[in-house]
């Protein structure tokens, strides 16, 4: 039976036609190959409103190339803060139910130690301690090893970010983020989700920090 050609007795487009056409559109989107999708998305991008055209070149340059189209972030809670990582920068989520190897001596308080994943030693950061200087930290927030439950391992597998809990995965457009692009005193801050004031972390800058402290090479 050819559903596409089915018509009701009055010759009008039937409900079934409409529903088939919706399903076809749905499938077409879901099954777009990534490269083709990018190309089509570029072609179909509507003209930006005038307000957008006056955005300074500087602010546009803060937006990473990958964030020009829709992108996803994973939001998590750490201490009392809500933070996020772009999904593209994540490799795996592992339970922190394993031994954390800690080094004695002078180490930054945001480095809680390393865990073994397979045969690899992965340093784990506590970003609550990293982003909040000591005077601003809440007395209600427990020590990292008492509250962290999971570790997000970054895409290159070089380090992990400890989290208390995962909140949600969210799809954003670049206009929903105030982009920082590594400027100012907080190079690890890629941007802030405007509506929720949730900090998006810059994995590249965090890695530089770890290199500076000889935690990763």
């Amino acid at each position: 039976m050819n559903y596409a050609k089915e018509q009701n007795p009055t010759g009008e487009r039937s409900e079934k036609d409409a529903s088939n056409s919706e399903v076809r559109d749905y499938l077409k989107h879901l099954l777009q190959e990534p490269l083709a999708a990018d190309a089509i998305e570029g072609q179909n991008t509507p003209a930006q409103p005038n307000r957008q055209q006056f955005r300074s070149v500087e602010s546009l340059s803060n937006i990473p190339q990958w964030a020009l189209g829709p992108f996803q972030i994973t939001q998590f809670v750490i201490g009392e803060l809500s933070m996020a990582l772009p999904v593209r920068d994540m490799f795996a989520l592992v339970d922190l139910d394993r031994t954390v190897l800690q080094l004695r001596g002078e180490t930054p308080d945001w480095w809680i130690g390393s865990i073994m994943i397979g045969e690899r030693s992965v340093p784990v950061l506590d970003t609550y301690h990293l982003v909040l200087p000591r005077p601003y930290r809440s007395a209600n927030v427990a020590f990292p090893l008492e509250r962290l439950t999971k570790v997000i391992v970054t895409a290159n597998g070089k380090f992990g970010i400890g989290v208390d809990s995962i909140s949600q995965v969210k799809t954003l457009k670049s206009s929903e983020v105030a982009w920082r692009g590594g400027q100012g005193r907080r190079p690890w801050l890629l941007g802030t989700v405007r509506q929720q004031l949730c900090a998006i972390l810059d994995v590249g800058e965090l890695e530089k920090l770890l290199v500076q402290h000889n935690i990763v090479v």
Partner: protein, 259 residues
Amino acid sequence: MGIIAVANQKGGVGKTTTAVNLAGFLAQQGYRTLVVDLDAHGSLTAYFGYDVETIDKNVYRLFTGVTDVRSLISTTQIPLLDILASSSALVTLDKQMGAQPGKGLVLRDALRMLSQRYDYIIADCPPVLGILMVNALAACDRLVVPVQTEVMALRGLERMMHTLNMIKTSLRREVPTTIVPTMYDRRTKAGVEALLQLRSRYGLLVWEGVVPEDTYLREASKNHLPVAYMSDRSKGALAYAMLTDHIRASESTQERVSA
């Protein structure tokens, strides 16, 4: 590596039983086999003793950023048989992802990483057309559609075949399909009529055998074992053994044709 999707938009037709028992026979014959549970209800996951509410290594994570599918696989008590478990969070996927471009290809891309590790992958689909069924159909080389031999179930099959045609058009390729009559009771007139209707309507797409009603299949499910490991002489076991051979033989024919 062969990827087989077991799907039907109607529930309760024997999808999970078919997935488990195909996988069981393949593993018993020495093929490294992975089952993938794409149904948020997690019947397949529960079959192998895992809980969809708590299992951390699950297929949902593939859609939320984990790129290495190998880190999400769990073993089962059956030698050579592993599982990529379901998660109750899968129910949120359609809402989260909508019709984002390319999200129907996540499973296909992930399973490609396993081509050296498994001989067969069997995906158990949810009974709805959504992102998970589309992923399974985009990833698979062959589709197995279990159909209860009952007249009402045939209507559901019509819908499934229509959906499949639309997906094939979007994929721009054929998906070899085997319709498997299940829960067949030859003592009832309704069962016999439904089987005849099925064969007259879908012809060669319908497997020549039938999976009969068999208490051993239920017993096997209760014991969390594929029937191959319970009673390989029961009617249900013999049927699934024959179906496994049929699928293996069809695959060899297809390999020869495409070579």
